[in-house]
């Protein structure tokens, strides 16, 4: 007997999504739409509201161990991507993965695997670029940075920046998703938290001096006879530039670019 088709409403969190997966398997229902409280609208399908349940979420999460390393990575990371209807794709992927086990990671020509794999690649690629292109400013003894990623890259950047700056207090704000990674020295001194309003104080003299030094270095090392703006653009697309110190217009703002909202 085919599973009943339903629309799932959940709180938008990863645990919430995993709770949906749990409930759907238990009730033998197939989600064909996912809604979060923000995008609530009418649906043709019966609406099932799923309460986030950490125990259920955990059981589903642990079951990903059966997918092999590659299969598991996709199951965990797809949710962070900006793939449209990522929940549906992830649901389809999980069904496939439960069926195929560790082989799923190798099934590169399957359309679903292909879709989530490309989305995850995009996420990881963006995270990698931000490892380099993120800029911090020292403001009142705290390193503060801001990014505007398409995907939710903060969980992927966490290890990197915490490992790089174990002795620093820092805050990295993701403007797109309204959350920030905070860190202070010490074991487990990090958290990723939602942020409503992010408005740090203006830069001090030392910070401005470093910005000028960096700009001087950046401008100097380009070799004139090799000028190649197209190559620069391919390697470092324009969308990153706004928040990078080397392209900053006003020296004394808190961060390279603070948009007035």
């Amino acid at each position: 007997m085919p599973w009943t088709q339903i629309a799932c409403q959940y709180d938008g969190s990863y645990s919430g999504f995993l709770s949906c997966v749990f409930d759907c398997y238990v009730n033998r229902e197939e989600p064909v739409e996912f809604h979060t409280p923000e995008d609530m609208c009418c649906s043709l399908y019966p609406l099932r509201t799923v309460e986030t349940d950490e125990t259920h979420a955990r059981r589903v999460y642990l079951s990903f161990g059966k997918f092999g390393a590659e299969g598991r990575r996709l199951a965990v990371r797809t949710f962070l991507t900006c793939l449209p209807d990522k929940e549906l794709w992830l649901w389809r992927y999980l069904c496939l993965a439960y069926e195929q086990g560790p082989g799923v990671g190798r099934n590169l020509t399957n359309p679903t695997v292909d879709r989530v794999r490309k989305a995850v690649w995009h996420l990881e690629h963006e995270a990698h670029q931000y490892k380099g292109f993120t800029r911090f400013s020292e403001l009142d003894g705290v390193l503060v940075g801001e990014i505007e990623p398409k995907n939710r890259v903060l969980p992927l950047l966490r290890d990197h920046f915490c490992g790089r700056y174990p002795q620093e207090r820092f805050a990295l704000h993701d403007r797109t998703h309204g959350e920030a990674l905070f860190h202070r020295p010490g074991p487990n001194g990090w958290a990723i938290l939602p942020v409503e309003d992010f408005s740090p104080n203006p830069a001090g003299a030392e910070e401005i001096a470093y910005r000028k030094l960096w700009r001087a270095f950046y401008d100097t090392i380009a070799i004139e006879g090799r000028y190649n703006p197209k190559c620069r653009m391919t390697n470092m697309p324009k969308r990153y530039w706004a928040m990078m110190t080397e392209f900053q217009k006003d020296w004394d703002t808190a961060l390279p670019e603070l948009r007035t909202r």
Partner: protein, 419 residues
């Protein structure tokens, strides 16, 4: 002198060195320290010439006792001179690193007073950086030819990567343009660094806390276009350097006419396209199991500017093709134009699930633009594909043509197309 002025002078003097990478070493951060390194390296920016910026690339000083003709820092050149104190340079490095501008420091130097004195100055800088600031980021240090081996060793214990530039691809050229430098003065420390790396690896295998000597390996650079060597000569030398000195990388740098003493034609343009082809050929040596003799021979001593070297090889060896995607081994797949290391690995992984067709290849992210002419899937060529042998050459050239037809033919990206 202001720090800003020093930075302007000493970055300007260092910028012609092509070797800007921060790769080859994975070191995680430690409590109480600053910094980590990534195996793949990390670009922090790209300059207006399209090159990756990853390290603070500066000279300790540009004051030089030598007079190498191709170099901006030569004694006889009238340019402003400056020197960083070790403390200044450390502050600058840490300040940049904390703001995530850079992955580390690339420290080179002109020869002030004598090679030993210069090396000692660099050692002082790196010691302060590593010991006082506990800096765990990437450090690339340039060995100074002619320095005491013991000093070079101490430098290597503080650095992650070391390099010593070959500069010019043959002894006569070196004698002509760098009369103060002898081939031996370059090759001896190169051999010493190689031995230091090998020994350090051996010790580390036994004892985890053994001192690490240049754990990210050794590289070198040569200038292309200032002297008449052929590409074949350069590639053969490159191969010998990889074989004999176990270098991680050889960099090529198109000669920039910085000196009136190196005679170049009136309309000389830096050979950027040639440099690009050399890098492609270099990839074939390092990752595609090619030998220099296969890529170029006496009849064909120079790389074809119109086509990448792998395509050229394929056109000369049509008997090798077509290659069957579902059966060919890794090495064979690597020889197919347009298939990179990653594509080849993906093919191996995916075909274990079931036979691949051209649709499937596309889904794997294999770019078929070039590869389609050289592949079969389960015995079948791509449908609708019929092309004669000399049509093939024209066709492959035309694939690169947009780049070649651009107003400045040399303006190609170094890092595009998987060779």
């Amino acid at each position: 002198m202001e720090l800003l002025d020093k930075l302007n002078i000493l970055a300007d003097a260092a910028k012609y060195d092509a070797a800007c990478t921060s790769s080859g070493l994975d070191r995680s951060g430690q409590a109480g320290a600053v910094g980590s390194t990534m195996l793949a390296g990390c670009c922090h920016s790209f300059s207006a010439d399209g090159r990756c910026v990853t390290l603070l690339k500066v000279l300790q000083t540009n004051v030089c006792i030598y007079d190498c003709q191709y170099c901006v820092n030569r004694r006889s050149n009238d340019v402003p001179r400056a020197a960083f104190t070790p403390e200044e340079l450390c502050e600058l490095t840490i300040g940049f690193y904390r703001r995530n501008y850079i992955e580390g420091l690339f420290l080179s130097s002109a020869v002030i007073q004598n090679p030993d004195y210069t090396t000692e100055l660099m050692i002082r800088t790196l010691r302060i950086l590593r010991e006082k600031h506990r800096f765990g980021g990437y450090v690339h240090a340039k060995a100074i030819p002619g320095a005491d081996p013991l000093l070079t060793r101490r430098l290597g214990l503080l650095a992650d990567r070391m390099s010593i530039n070959i500069e010019l691809p043959s002894s006569p050229s070196l004698a002509l343009l760098a009369p103060d430098k002898k081939k031996e003065a370059i090759l001896t420390p190169m051999g010493q660094i190689r031995d230091g790396i090998v020994q350090s690896k051996r010790e580390l295998a036994v004892y985890r806390h053994a001192p690490r000597f240049a754990p990210a390996g050794q590289s070198t650079q040569m200038i292309v276009g200032a002297t008449p060597e052929s590409d074949r000569h350069i590639l053969t030398l490159t191969q010998a350097l990889y074989d004999r000195y176990q270098l991680k990388r050889v960099f090529y740098s198109a000669y920039m006419p910085v000196s009136p003493l190196v005679p170049v034609a009136e309309d000389y343009k830096p050979p950027l396209l040639r440099e690009h082809r050399l890098y492609q050929a270099d990839w074939l040596l390092r990752y595609y199991h090619f030998r220099a003799e296969e890529i170029l021979d006496e009849d064909q001593p120079d790389l074809d500017p119109r086509l990448d070297p792998k395509c050229c090889w394929a056109l000369r060896h049509l008997e090798f093709f077509p290659v069957e995607v579902n059966r060919a081994d890794y090495e064979t797949l690597l020889r197919v134009p347009g298939l990179g290391v990653r594509s080849a690995r993906r093919i191996l992984r995916a075909r274990r699930v079931g036979p691949l067709n051209f649709e499937g290849l596309k889904r794997l992210g294999v770019v078929l633009k070039r590869a389609q002419y050289f592949l079969t899937c389960s015995g079948r060529m791509m449908t609708g594909l019929r092309i004669s042998e000399d049509g093939l050459l024209r066709h492959l050239v035309s694939l690169e043509a947009p780049a070649l037809a651009a107003p400045m033919p040399e303006q190609l990206s170094l890092f595009d197309s998987a060779v």
